[in-house]
Amino acid sequence: MSSSINTVCRNRRLRCCAYGIALACCLSAAVLAQDLSLRAPSGAVAGSAASIGTSGSGSATFYMIGPSLSLKRDVELGQDITLSSQELQTAGRYIAIVCTNNCSSVGFFVAPAKPVNLTFLVHPSRAPVAQNDAVSGVALTFDEYHNLVIAPTAIQFQLAAKGSSPASHGAQTHDGIAWFRTSSGKSAGPLQVSASLSNEVTARRVVQQVASEPCNLRIKGERTSKGIVVETDPLRDCSGNPVPDGTVVTFTAKNGNLTSSVDSPVKQDVARATMLATGPVIISAASGVAMGNELRLGGKE
């Protein structure tokens, strides 16, 4: 009986001892964890200094890993770790780590600074006049450290062509991007396109508006000693703009079953060709989707 009581007592003592050790371990772990706790900076902004709070005492190794930097230095626990503005220039996620015997870490985000730069993509560089949705532009906002500014920002797009009042279009960036799409104007010439950021930063691009396809095609011609000389009247698009030099006009001569064609580029609004044909011929011209009148030589037009 006494031996069994002793055994029970010994077991209880052992159990107590084990609980004690476990408790001590937990406490020491908790103390160690507490020693290495870090407080991340709240609301850190790119290019602005910040600090990370630490608790505990003694020296430790501090690491910080960011989108474009990794640093390692010795620090004193219990004091704030100062991060310079140069160390926080890149927006994104950072991990701060402090190590003594074990390591503790904290992650935090650095937000982009205020927008000061615009990347402005405009297409196309040459656009035919009077085309729907022919011109488009995309503006991206960046801060001075080349971080994409995610916060909504007002962008003012302006389009100004010679001879017409400028058109303005306001847009708000969404995840750093604002865009527009518009029809081209009615007159050929440069179209000034600009994107402005609160009237302080402006990016300008130029779209050259050119005449569209020829609208009306009329030809005239005569027989000479060298052949039949044909030429168009001055070529215009449907908005009255002279078509650009180099626009190709195809002249076709039909003489019975024989057909011959000549491609001729427009020079100073007019396309000319000399065709070799004998006897009565019917000459026609075409450019793009426009067909010209038929010209009959050796008979009547």
Partner: protein, 182 residues
């Protein structure tokens, strides 16, 4: 086949042969599994892309090149070599990652991005197709080492805003910016 016959007819006892064979299979399968894990998994959802629709061929190219970019980003930060970044990152993303590699090398730190999965969502595709903005919900095991000793490990889920532009034969990452949320 000849190799199998040689293996069968070898003077090794049957039990030893089985043990060696099993070990070899286990080794190969482990390494194949590791190789499969090390390649980032990338999916792309284009349902919300506007104003332009993302063509099927473009989708395939973006997935291929983004996957390749992250595999090489991991390689660059693990080996502290900027070489793998060339051709896949351009502009700001390239400059930042080069700086990251340089400062890691200087401080003796290396990073590993293991078991990566990237869920991409196209948020904006420019009317002329010259820039695409993607939202990437990335999930990976991040390991930071100082001289081979792990100082930080975590299973991270990070949101990235990504800008990609088409190059001559591939899409390149121009901006890779982690954000708290989309």
């Amino acid at each position: 086949m000849r190799l199998i016959n040689l293996w069968r007819n070898s003077a090794m006892p049957r039990r030893l042969r089985l043990t060696v064979g099993a070990t070899l299979i286990a080794f190969l399968s482990t390494h194949c599994a590791l190789a499969a894990d090390s390649s980032p998994q990338v999916t792309l959802n284009v349902a919300k892309a506007s104003p332009r629709n993302v063509e099927a061929l473009t989708q395939r190219s973006i997935v291929r090149d983004y996957k390749f970019a992250w595999a090489n980003l991991d390689l660059a930060l693990e080996s502290n070599s900027a070489g793998p970044l060339n051709g896949l990152f351009a502009g700001n993303a390239n400059a930042e990652l080069n700086e990251a590699v340089g400062s890691q090398r200087k401080s003796g730190i290396t990073s590993r991005y293991l078991n990566q999965t990237h869920k991409l969502e196209a948020a904006f595709y420019a009317p002329e197709g010259d820039v695409i903005e993607l939202h990437d919900t990335a999930e990976y095991d991040l390991e930071i080492l100082d001289g081979g000793k792990a100082i930080h490990t975590e299973h991270a889920i990070i949101h990235y805003i990504v800008l990609m532009t088409p190059g001559a034969d591939r899409w390149v990452v121009r901006q890779l910016q982690a954000v708290p949320q989309f």
